[in-house]
Amino acid sequence: MEGTMTQELGLLLPEIFLAASAVLGLLLGSYLPRRRQWLIHVLAALACLAGLVSTVLDWPEPSTAVFEGSYSIDIATHATRVVVLVSVLLVLGLTADVRGHRRETEFVVLLLLSALGTVLLAGTNDLLLLGAAYLLASVPLYALTAFAKDSPGTEASLKFYLLGALLGVTMLFGIMLLSGVGGGAGYAALAGGIPDAPKAAVAVGVIAVLAGLLFKAGAVPAQFWVPDVTQGARPPVGAIVTTIPKIGAAVALYRLVAAPLGLASLDWPLLFAVLAAATMTLGNLAAFFQTDVRRLLAYSTISQIGYLLMAVAAAGRSTLALPSLLLYLAAYAVTNLGAFAVVCALPAARTLTDYSGLRRHQPWLALGLTICLLGLVGTPPTGVFAGKLTVFTAAFDAGFVWLVVLAAVNTAASVFYYLRWIAPAMRSNPTTIEHAEPRAATTAYLAAPASIAVGVLAGPILAVFQGNILIS
């Protein structure tokens, strides 16, 4: 027993690195003088790199489930680890804002903890662990949102917390109900128990569980926090909350649909198709006339989640569903962080008009912004294009032609508001912007080409992501 426990822990190295670096960081941070706090950043980056290396080394291993089947280590978990760890590395490049801050360590530690939560969310095969991961992924973000202790941040944090607590409790209720009627909390047990359970109880339970996950993903009908938090918090925090939790939530939703719900008698895929349609449409329509860039990005991330949910709706009906979801997540994370990197590099520019004439003094930053925004539209050959192409194909294959048509219409409509940002930035008007924060700008220069690389290398990436999730 001892031996297998150690072996199982060995498979969880990336998660362990995240947890250990968070604890170690907190300890180190309380002893280090303020000017040496940058060491915590280095520690976090090292933990991420070590996690990436161990994930890649582990990849060829066949899928296994650890801890009595409650946590699976399969393609989806591996991919989530890579995407989350790369996202954390990129976010660490945006934190010039908190350099030398009194609570710099806390910032990094909270980031690491929420990243750990999101990875656990993606890997869990058990409702109880899902509830725990939900809390771990959420609580650090409430604190991060209010990090600056200013009034917009505090207000956003309060909103975020209240909605999160409400939907979290709802989720716990759903977990209780489902494991009660389904005969267990593990997905395998549920898959066996749900078909015989009372339909109404299953329906209520699943919807309550979904409430929490949709909140994490920022999807309709639990999307209200996204714009306020993104606009109210500091820009790097906005980048975190719109990217990292969504990765875990989307994979968790996929797992839930593919494993226990795949056998249920109710038409869950249709529910997800409707949620996807509502999310993308609402996000797009609301983004149309935003003038604040962060609010615009917030609504754009809502619409992106809508496209991602298309892959969830196609779960189990198309072999492309899982690879397309993971590819889209990877592309989305890099591209969205790239756009946020530009926002972080220009902290003084808050509205679209502030970006007017950006190319005059910061031509490369303007180019990076253009690439990332066109990437979010889904212009080839960027990663999101490859993601959209495969997600659309998967949904088409699953029989949701109407959803694909709607997604295409939404994509075309989204061009409008992204262009409202690109057009002034590429003009050569006189401008107030001259200086850009160098570290965030460097991150943007890394993220923009990376978002194209994900698209050009979509072939090999999809080949790596090919496979099924493990139901144990």
Partner: protein, 495 residues
Amino acid sequence: MLSIIVFLPVAVAAGLLAFPRLGDSAVRWTWITASAVELALVLGLWLAYDPATPGYAYEVNRRWIPSVSSGYHLGVDGLSLPLVAVTAVLFLACAIYSLRQTQRIRSFAALFLFLETVCLGLFVSLDLILFFVFFDLSIVGMYFVIAGWGHRGAARAALKFFLYTFVGSLALLLGFIGLYLSAEPHTFDIARLAEQNPLAGQGVAGTLVLLALVVGLAIKTPTVPFHTWLPPAHTEAPAAGSAILAGVLLKLGTYGFVRIAMPLLPDTWRRYAWVIVIVGVLSVLYGALVALAQRDFKRMIAYTSVNHMGYIILAIGAAGLIATSNEQAHDLAVAGAVTQMVSHGLITGALFLLAGVLYERGHTYDMGSYGGLAASAPRFAGLTAIAAFASLGLPGFSGFIAEFQIFTGSLGATPVATALAFLGILISAALFLRAYQRIFLGPPRTAGGTTDLTAPEAISIAPLMALAVVVGLFPRFLLDVIEPAARTLGDLVSR
């Protein structure tokens, strides 16, 4: 070889951006040299091309996204090679024409080189995803040309252009996904899809896929009723941008019809060919009539483009009607359509550059503000006269060869539609003559006369007209390339 031709311009563009120390004149000459090298390479391609060999020449086929079996598949045949050549010629002409361009020449040159890669890449793509990548990038590139260097209303026109054509490209993408999923095994490869004919006999699915493809391509072409983005985009774009937009980018749509819609969905195409014919005739007549009502010279040319694209649509629609009954007429109509694409590229490219010259002189496109320019600018007047005559399809020019083939090929299939389309020629003759009279003849209205064509203007525009004449007088060299490909297409469509 094809990969080099496609990606050389964008490599040069990257070089231009990477060396900001390069002076403006160095940038100009690098641009011209790159375009000239490109043209020389394409010329080599043409000379080494053997039309008699079946299939695609210079084929490259690499794995790209094997999970959805999409490959990096390039190749040329008689349908694409002439368009590749026109693209290279027009981009060189624009490079020379822009010798006097002063505003942000580096970005301008880089953008045009990027667009050249995109257009060449599209014509040689034999994979739907690759085709789509280039199709979409052409929209992005042209958006920045219009928004960055256009006239006063450019921002709005560019936005309209982007949104409208982007909707088209997404419709196209839906059609592509439908084709992919209907093929067994699933593939995005055009050549393999053409072999499989995956939607044969599947009524509704085939109809919906064709509808998506036709809407996507019709917006790009553009045909009535999807043409409304075109006039503002053309009017606001800089002269070189308009020339590329009309000369090359519109062909992306019509080329898509002959490369994708016809061979991949043959029986559905034949079933709905009458709709295509109607759309074609409507475009011909509507384009010509609205052009007749214009006072703005550039807007007028823009509408004649709708008219000229209408002939192509008419021809491919008629070709669908008679594909099984009259092979010879089918091949003639398709060959006419491809020749028209080449001819329209040369002639309208030249006309838009001439419109740019006009704007340089008088800072307006309003024909009412000009008069008697022929007295002070004889070379300008002469060249415009040639271009106008070429555009209305006078014998001796490429347009005549193209339209003659189109009408002869289509007459048997749809006599009424062809007769109606014939009216379009009459109207365009009237409108070109009227416009010419207004601007160049009569008493001069601008004080102090107008300067004649400068050397770069003349050197960029005159060869386009010379080529139109060469094609008009000695069309064999072009038709020898197109006709075998038209026959192959006929075999595919008549399945």
